[in-house]
């Protein structure tokens, strides 16, 4: 047997790939297991909320009761000119235009200023919500724009789910950093798992041998992680990129490459190249620009960004959803005075390159929204598989240590978290609808989620029996799902008749899915469905000498 400094080397895997010594395997197993155990529950929360948030747009539309409008397909030029005439020149440096889920046209005039509260450089200016038909101002807000303020333009439920996923609802930047560390952990776990699993190909078709034995737990974890390995690495990599790139990497690079000058960094990476010219100039017709861009790309504009509105050096960037068959968003650039088409522009930098293509791929590979519902369904499957991998890994760890009371308690926490996140999401939806009647949904949605989560842990502590706990959680989840469409309707939500009339299909589809999901869960809990598929009720069978 060959060896290295650490002793004998295990037999090569799968036809002779690089072998690891026993000490290396032991270390890898320890770090894989302990890091997964210590942070696995938090990682599961991030994965589970991310899986739900894949359909954040559809959830937003269901929550609001209206379908998202097909991009900026209404005239906006006249309204923007009228509003800009009253804005101080300072906030004309950046103008953003988009449509929110209620169909209103949002026009945001902003610049950068130091927020005295946070002492951070933030966007500052005025946001107008306009009626799409008449262009009249529906609402107006002057303030610093933190992320929370941008999110309030949507709805409480989808905003909360996204916030839980990207930052575990912790303040910036700590939430992002923690989620980024969890992404690193997931990448490490995937890579180390690949090295640890010596018969990955041979075991690729072996289902779990037993529902209760230790080997069955290992089979379940190994099978799910083997099949989901490539996408687990992709999701972890892209996720940790989004979490850490602008909290850790970007400040370091700004310091090294630009001497700490954030404006210079932003201009290099994001701003279109144009010589400064502060002379006043008549802005181009925005409607003509948007129309030309839509014709070039073959789809509606989702977002328009204007730099230095009303100046000779103005530029207009128009963003479009990925055209059919493509993965990445498309950006077109126009002269802000003449309206001349300057060509397509990459997401980062000013010329297309390998780096810009890689950057552009991060979003579609993480979010999976490049092909509408089809790709989103696949990404939900990937997220669910990843969540299953995390839970089975934790269960395997606890199963090996079942003799110790502390680990048995941790096992209950796993069950509470596994069911607690979907239960909390359903409770958050109930809270959003009920508080929407009179109250602040942005306050009561997170309260509902965390109260439910605490309730799940309290029940776990009190009941102490995993089977009874599962039964309880499944019952609550089933009835929660069945009640949700009714609560939505009674809290002033769009009825099915109105949804059909106005073409808001998401309302009906999600209501039906909730009814179906609740029904299936009740059937499973009542073991009817389990009998149909031939699965016995779970019994904790003890097996000797495992």
């Amino acid at each position: 047997m060959q060896g290295n400094e650490e002793g004998p080397v295990a037999e090569p895997r799968n036809g002779g790939a690089a072998a690891l010594s026993q000490a290396q395997m032991k270390r890898l197993t320890a770090v894989h297991g302990w890091s997964g155990t210590l942070l696995g529950l938090l990682l599961y929360i991030v994965v589970a909320t991310g899986t739900i948030a894949v359909f954040a747009q559809e959830i937003r539309e269901w929550s609001v009761g209206a379908s998202a409008p097909p991009g900026i397909d209404v005239p906006v030029d006249a309204a923007v000119r009228k509003l800009a005439a009253f804005m101080p020149r300072g906030v004309l440096g950046e103008v953003g235009i988009w449509r929110n889920s209620r169909g209103e046209v949002v026009v945001a005039f902003h610049t950068h200023a130091t927020n005295p509260a946070s002492r951070e450089e933030e966007d500052f200016g005025t946001v107008f919500h306009l009626d799409p038909a008449t262009g009249e101002v529906v609402s107006r807000l002057n303030d610093f724009y933190s992320d929370a303020l941008w999110d309030r333009d949507g709805d409480a439920l989808s905003s909360f789910l996204i916030d839980m996923h990207v930052a575990l609802y912790l303040p910036y930047p700590w939430g992002y950093i923690l989620v980024g560390v969890l992404g690193l952990l997931m990448m490490f776990a995937a890579l180390s798992g690949l090295l640890m699993h010596r018969h990955l190909i041979r075991d690729l078709f072996v289902a779990a041998r037993s529902r209760s034995r230790l080997v069955g737990h290992r089979d379940r974890h190994a099978l799910a992680s083997s099949w989901s390995l490539p996408f687990a690495i992709i999701l972890a990599f892209t996720g940790s990129f989004y979490a850490l790139a602008f909290t850790i990497t970007s400040p370091i690079l700004t310091e090294i490459a630009f001497g700490g000058d954030e404006e210079a960094m932003e201009e290099t990476l994001w701003a279109p190249p144009v010589a400064e010219d502060t002379r006043r100039a008549e802005p181009a017709d925005l409607d003509a620009v948007i129309g030309r861009s839509s014709a070039e790309v073959g789809g509606p504009a989702e977002y328009v960004g204007i730099s230095n509105y009303g100046r000779a050096d103005s530029r207009i960037s128009v963003w479009h959803h990925p055209p059919e068959g493509r993965l990445t968003w498309v950006q077109t650039l126009f002269d802000g005075v003449s309206g001349a088409y300057l060509g397509p522009r990459p997401e980062i930098g000013n010329a297309f390159s390998v780096g810009s293509s890689l950057f552009a791929l991060m979003w579609p590979l993480h979010v999976g929204d490049f092909a509408g519902v089809a790709s989103k369904l696949v990404w939900v499957g990937l997220g669910a598989t990843t969540g299953f991998v995390v839970l089975t890994g934790l269960s395997l760890w606890v199963r090996r240590r079942e003799a110790e009371p502390a680990w048995r308690r941790f096992g209950l926490a796993i069950v509470a978290t596994g069911y607690g996140v979907p239960l909390g999401a359903v409770a958050a939806a109930h809270g959003a609808f009920l508080s929407g009647v009179s109250g602040d949904p942005f306050l009561w949605t997170p309260i509902s989620f965390f109260a439910t989560a605490l309730g799940c842990y309290a029940a776990a502590w009190r009941l102490g029996d995993p089977l009874r706990l599962r039964h309880l959680y499944l019952t609550l989840l089933a009835y929660g799902c069945l009640a949700l469409p009714i609560v939505r309707l009674f809290c002033g939500g769009t009825s099915w008749a109105e949804a059909l009339r106005l073409g808001h299909g998401e309302v009906i589809v999600i209501d039906l899915l909730l009814f179906a999901g609740g029904g299936l869960m009740l059937a499973w809990r009542g073991s009817w469905l389990r009998r149909v598929v031939g699965i016995e009720a779970r019994q904790p069978l003890r097996q000797p000498a495992e």
Binding site: A207, P230, V378, I535
Partner: protein, 208 residues
């Protein structure tokens, strides 16, 4: 390429994955299934699983390929994660629910679907010739029956050691022993276990 082609490509790949899983030697060994008796042709099946992706890459778009990758890894895992016994019971439940027919010894009630019987038998063989549905899922009962069998065999060995038919008294806690040819079955019945092996060739512990 439209979504329907991507769907077909995913379906074709999953069919190959299902065949790979059904014929995987380790899977069959682990679940106590007999070897298929036919050559596996793993490389051919792998090629058939990957060919739709190559077709999408050639004729379709990047989005199609990425969707194929995600769908096949997720659904492939789901397919493989279901044990053979559960697959069979799900298939039987689905076919029974659809057509009112039962697979196995009971026969087909719907005349127009009798032609499907050979297909159903082939499907059952593909899953390894598993025992009929009513045996599947009776794990606890089966274990108890086997334990009773072993107890009866031990008892008959002890009888033999004590000097022949009827010799030796039962040990404390042991059930009354019967020395007939069907002694093992009466033992099982005394133990309160339902013996559902009716119709199977009896494995009687023959006493000397």
């Amino acid at each position: 390429m439209s979504g329907i082609w991507t769907l077909l490509a995913v379906g074709a790949s999953l069919a190959a994955v299902a065949r790979l899983a059904a014929s995987d030697p380790k899977r069959r060994r682990v679940f106590g299934l007999p070897p298929t008796g036919r050559p596996r042709r793993a490389r051919l099946l792998l090629g058939m699983a990957l060919a739709p992706c190559a077709a999408l890459a050639w004729l379709g778009t990047t989005a199609d390929v990425v969707i194929w990758c995600g769908a096949v890894t997720t659904l492939g895992w789901f397919l493989v994660a279901i044990p053979p016994a559960t697959q069979l019971s799900m298939a039987q439940a689905a076919s029974g629910a659809l057509a009112g027919m039962t697979v196995g010894r009971v026969g087909l009630r719907t005349p127009s679907l009798r032609g499907l019987a050979p297909l159903a038998r082939r499907f059952k063989e593909g899953l390894g010739g598993l025992p009929p549905l009513r045996r599947v899922g009776a794990g606890a009962d089966r274990i108890a029956l086997l334990e009773a069998l072993i107890a009866a065999l031990e008892a008959s060995l002890a009888d033999r050691g004590a000097g022949g038919r009827g010799g030796g008294s039962p040990l404390p806690g042991e059930p009354e022993r019967s020395v007939s040819r069907n002694g093992w079955r009466r033992e099982a019945e005394t133990a309160g276990v339902r013996d559902d092996s009716r119709g199977e060739p009896e494995r009687v512990a023959s006493n000397p």
